[in-house]
């Protein structure tokens, strides 16, 4: 055997994949990647993003090809995963946790052609957009329900860390409850962990023993809802509809629906109109939705919640609207005024009626 045919075979072997890729590229679907901070599970923050991904895939069919990586820690691992996704040819990448902010920006810089969408962050670039939801709107409505259902007027709140997103939720719940019961108070306990079912359970038990008869949580497990079901105490879920953990006692839940946003943004990449934007959607945009109310909630209350939902959706009513005093009794929101988005995003004070320390 001479050298010549062998070399041409080699050249042919090298050329074929290149040709194939070029031919395939014309009709190739847009590859879209999702990076999740936790396992998908069956409820919770990451699960809601996964529902959005499924909706996107179902709606756009073979025009897109979605994939995900779950349980990505917010440390050094995140950059590796995001970089790998970009290198694999994903044209649009959703990174769905606050801690992915810096890795996303870094990888986006190295892959200027890919588009990135970072959830709950504040750093943007020409190819990095940000998006989040006005969770506090749902919290206000949940507070309204709590105010009606609580006999003791004490709402127990199991929270992870005192960051603005959590503080907004606590204040909004209180303002909602005080709309119907001006004497309502909230007791807050901190677990210093987003996910520790045992600690969340102990915190819930504690709040019940101190007279709270409605519980809610800003942590990632359904342990608080379970504690309520076991002891016959009302609860308000968060992230996902948690009624299966508390069929008798879970009153409603603030849930996040990312479906429409994901479909819209993928469509924009497909028709070339995608731009780096900052989206903060609420009930009006369908990003926040209340889980169906428990049968135990009286019809009159359900109607009131419905009216408030529509008022918030249309923008006629703002949950953070003065007069609101802070814990020290000083004016936090002057009468007749609302808060700007910037003020809400940096909220670091508790309203009067919240017992707890930031």
């Amino acid at each position: 055997m001479t050298n010549l045919p062998r070399r041409s075979v080699l050249a042919g072997a090298l050329a074929t994949p290149a040709l194939l890729t070029r031919a395939a590229r014309a009709a190739a679907p847009l590859k879209i990647g999702f990076v999740y901070v936790a396992p998908i599970g069956d409820a919770g923050w990451t699960y809601q993003h996964e529902l959005g991904r499924r909706a996107l895939q179902a709606k756009l069919g073979d025009k897109v090809k979605t994939s995900y990586v779950e349980n990505v820690s917010e440390g050094a691992d995140a950059e590796r995963v995001i970089r790998q996704m970009a290198a694999d040819g994903n044209g649009l990448i959703f990174t769905t946790s606050f801690g992915f902010m810096n890795p996303t920006i870094k990888v986006a810089h190295a892959f200027p052609k890919a588009k990135f969408e970072h959830c709950t962050g504040y750093k943007r670039a020409a190819n990095v957009a940000t998006y989040s939801a006005r969770f506090y709107q749902g919290r206000f409505l949940a507070g309204l329900v709590a105010g009606h259902m609580s006999k003791s007027g004490i709402i127990g709140y199991v929270a992870a860390f005192p960051i603005p997103e959590v503080v907004q939720g606590i204040n909004a719940t209180l303002l909602g409850a005080r709309k119907v019961n001006p004497k309502a108070t909230i007791k807050v306990v901190w677990t210093s962990s987003w996910f520790d079912p045992g600690k969340e359970r102990a915190a819930a038990d504690t709040l019940i023993s101190q007279g709270a008869d409605v519980l809610t949580h800003h942590t990632d497990s359904p342990a608080v809802v379970q504690a309520g079901e076991e002891k016959g105490v009302w609860t308000l879920g968060y992230d996902s509809d948690m009624s299966k953990y508390g069929p008798k006692t879970c009153l409603t839940a603030t849930t996040m629906i990312w479906d429409q946003y994901y479909i819209k943004r993928a469509g924009m990449v497909l028709d070339g109109t995608w731009k780096s934007t900052d989206t903060w959607g609420g009930i009006g945009d369908g990003m926040i939705k209340m889980a169906p109310l428990n049968k135990a909630v009286p019809a009159a209350v359900a109607k009131e919640v419905d009216i408030a939902t529509r008022a918030i959706a249309s923008g006629r009513f703002k949950p953070f609207f003065g007069p609101v005093l802070n814990q020290a009794g000083k004016v936090a929101i002057p009468a007749g005024q609302g808060l700007t988005d910037k003020q809400i995003l940096s909220m670091n004070w508790f309203a009067q009626g919240v017992e707890g320390k930031i």
Partner: protein, 309 residues
């Protein structure tokens, strides 16, 4: 009356928070007293939690779930025993590997059960729990596992101090060579101790996934296996001190939440470090005096033993 219920609820909450630590700690204590250091407690607990919940969900029987958890813990411990006792692998490295393995394997096997709701053990035994009067409800919340854990303290203490087998076990832990020369079967005793440790860790995992927070979620033990390990040292390898340590740890956790809910301005970060601080202080105190440390720790702890003839 309200105060009495509050105090009762603090007591019950403390007991319940201490139970998984005590169960896992008792098992590890016995293993260490036989001279085997098994750092795989967290991994064995997770396997127990996953297997227990899966079988509970499949069969609908809490008792079968508990049994499955014990067997899963024993299976993990058997793997550890094979590697360290028979193949003489390094105990520290093997134990760490067992934890990492357990985290991964439990996540895999538990996957279909993530997000499946199940009633807690107490609510299974007492269906009317949610509507019971507050004081009675608190008492009913003390499920069988709480009683098993605290009865276990008596049993293990009696076994180690009063029984012949316990004496042999301690001898093996102090000096395997001497025990061997006296005709004691070192490896058989260590195997039994390691398997007991696995069974108790599995039960501790089931306490979390079937009783305390009845669900399966990846990594749901959240470091309790490591705390149990630290408590064994804190207790200087004595069952009664282990119970005290577990109760202290449980109480500080509960007290932190109670203080916050009362509106006391204590730093939650400082409070949540207290149990760990206490462990470090005890470690410093017992290791300050070399003799006392030598007397407290099983002398052959972590040393492999190869029977010569």
């Amino acid at each position: 009356m309200a105060e009495a219920v509050l105090i009762l609820s603090i007591v019950v909450a403390t007991l319940r928070a201490a139970t998984p630590l005590l169960l896992a700690g008792l098992g590890e204590l016995v293993a260490e007293r036989s001279g085997v250091l098994n750092l795989g407690v967290e991994g064995m607990m997770l396997m127990g939690a996953a297997a227990g919940f899966a079988v509970r969900a499949l069969s609908g029987s809490a008792a079968l779930g508990l049994l499955a958890a014990i067997l899963a813990g024993i299976a993990m411990a058997a793997l550890f025993a094979l590697l360290t006792l028979r193949l003489l692998a390094n105990q520290v490295a093997t134990g760490l590997a067992l934890t990492i393995f357990g985290i991964g394997l439990s996540a895999l096997t538990g996957l279909p059960w993530a997000g499946v709701p199940a009633p807690g053990l107490a609510a299974t035994i007492w269906p009317g729990l949610a509507h019971a009067p507050p004081a009675l409800q608190q008492v009913l919340l003390l499920d069988p596992l709480v009683w098993i854990a605290f009865a276990g303290v008596f049993a293990v203490d009696w076994f180690l101090r009063r029984s012949r087998a316990g004496l042999a076990l301690r001898a093996v832990g102090e000096s395997a060579e001497v025990a061997h020369a006296l005709g004691t079967s070192v490896l058989r005793i260590r195997l039994a101790a390691v398997l007991f440790g696995g069974a108790m860790a599995g039960l501790a995992g089931a306490d979390l996934s079937l009783a305390y927070t009845p669900m399966w979620a990846e990594n749901m033990t959240a470091g309790r296996g490591w705390i149990a390990l630290a408590l064994v040292v804190f207790a200087t390898w004595k069952p009664w001190r282990l119970a005290a340590g577990a109760l202290l740890f449980g109480f500080v956790t509960i007290a932190q939440f109670q203080a916050e809910a009362f509106g006391l301005s204590l730093s939650p970060d400082l409070l949540s470090t207290l149990p760990y601080l206490a462990t470090i202080v005890v470690l410093v105190l017992i290791s300050r005096d070399a003799t006392r440390l030598r007397l407290a720790a099983p002398a052959a702890l972590g040393k492999p033993f190869r029977p010569t003839d």
